[in-house]
Amino acid sequence: MIDIKNLHKSFGKIDVLKGIDVFIAEKEVVVIIGPSGSGKSTLLRCINYLEEPTDGEIIVDGIPLSGEANINKVREEVGMVFQRFNLFGHMTVLENIVLAPMKVRKLSRKDAVATAKELLDKVGLSDKAEAYPSQLSGGQQQRVAIARALAMKPKIMLFDEPTSALDPEMVNEVLEVMNTLAKEGMTMVVVTHEMGFAREVGDRVLFVDEGKIVEQGPPKAIFEEAKEERLKSFLSKIL
């Protein structure tokens, strides 16, 4: 589904990603962990070209990414959820969700609204369709953001620290929605500090440090039988 080969990314003189190779299969849930500044968010953002790779190859759903030429086609299939929600502040929840399906997928308003209502029901916010983002809690906003991304019927969902900006009591409502998605067979790549989620929902965990994948494997192997010193010391700090 996603095939990344020798991915490099530099910002000016700073090399953030130093050769990443990873293959993500259909329906796989991959969780990326690592210290801040390790390049894990950059890796995620390269997958839908919000960051342009300096070198290397990324193939998403059979399409090799090559800049502006086909990027919108790929992004239609790849949903993204941000740390800071990024809901459109001037639109109601419903308008946030129907905009892209209508403008990009050319759905009729009626169909788009029907899908949006189903998705709002799924994330438990049926009663908030007419609310504005600023009237919602952080957890509610993030659930709307997930519904907005799902409305495009993507094949892959990317999550960039989706719970990091939330108050602790709202983290679970967002994780539950992600858990449901994973059970339904969505291909997911999740950057997170929620080790509980990584352990329970992840099929595979990637530990990224200093721009490289230092260790990877099933959650059990990563959390209980870590081999690399850097991973051990990272885990000892957060667990």
Binding site: N86, G89, P133
Partner: protein, 221 residues
């Protein structure tokens, strides 16, 4: 020194007619300026550098030269190039809207840049193009934020439009001059003219404050 009140009341209909013309020039200029400014403002943020460069030249030239000189160029200099006389109304509107457009371009640019980068990323990540995201997400939100500076631009243009009196266009200031030429009532007429300008600018600033309050509600993230 005596103040002739009847001169004021007698001149009022003529002055108010002039004021109406002033409002017309201002509204037309700022209206056209909005279109020019939105276009030039977005050009200043374009990815392709020649577009950015041309937009910057336009903005710098207009903001770096006096409106009075721009009006002279439009009315006296350009006809020498083209060989065609230009109607004072057309010259006045063109000069003022091209002038206003440059200031509004900067207002738009600042407004657009003030929108969180995450909004563009969210739009793009949903598969929308740069221009779709600009149109449906960035510009509508920028519009709300630029209401106050746009209001100021409207007020500035209303006052600056008095400059078109130099090409004989009969707006409020020119009307005042013409009445004084007949009556020598400098004191009465200039005070009346100033008062009318003041009433107009105060009305606009109150209206802008009202709009600002109305659109404030849902602008928080």
């Amino acid at each position: 020194m005596n103040f002739d009140v009847t001169l004021v009341t007698n001149s009022m209909p003529l002055l108010l007619e002039g004021a109406l013309v002033t409002i017309k020039i201002t509204a037309l200029s700022v209206g056209l300026g909005l279109i020019i400014g939105l276009f030039a403002g977005i050009c200043r943020l374009a990815v392709f550098w020649p577009v950015r460069f041309l937009a910057a030249v336009y903005v710098d030239f207009i903001r770096g030269t006096p409106l009075l000189v721009q009006i002279f160029i439009m009315y006296f200099a350009l006809p020498m190039l083209t060989g065609m006389r230009i109607d004072p109304f057309i010259a006045a509107i063109t000069a003022c809207s091209v002038n206003s457009g440059a200031y509004i371009a900067e207002i738009f640019r600042a407004g657009i840049e003030s929108i969180d980068a995450g909004q563009m990323e969210a739009g793009r990540s949903l598969g929308m193009s740069w221009s779709q995201t600009m149109r449906y997400i960035i510009v509508p939100q920028a519009f709300k934020r630029i209401i106050p500076p746009l209001g100021n631009e409207f007020i500035a243009m209303l006052k600056d439009s008095s400059l078109v009196s130099v090409i004989g266009f009969e707006e409020l200031t020119r009307r005042g001059q013409l009445i004084i030429a007949r009556t020598y009532g400098s004191l009465e007429i200039w005070l009346s003219v100033a008062f009318i300008y003041l009433v107009m600018t105060l009305t606009i600033s109150r209206f802008v404050a009202y709009l600002e309050r109305r659109y404030k509600i849902d602008d928080r993230h």
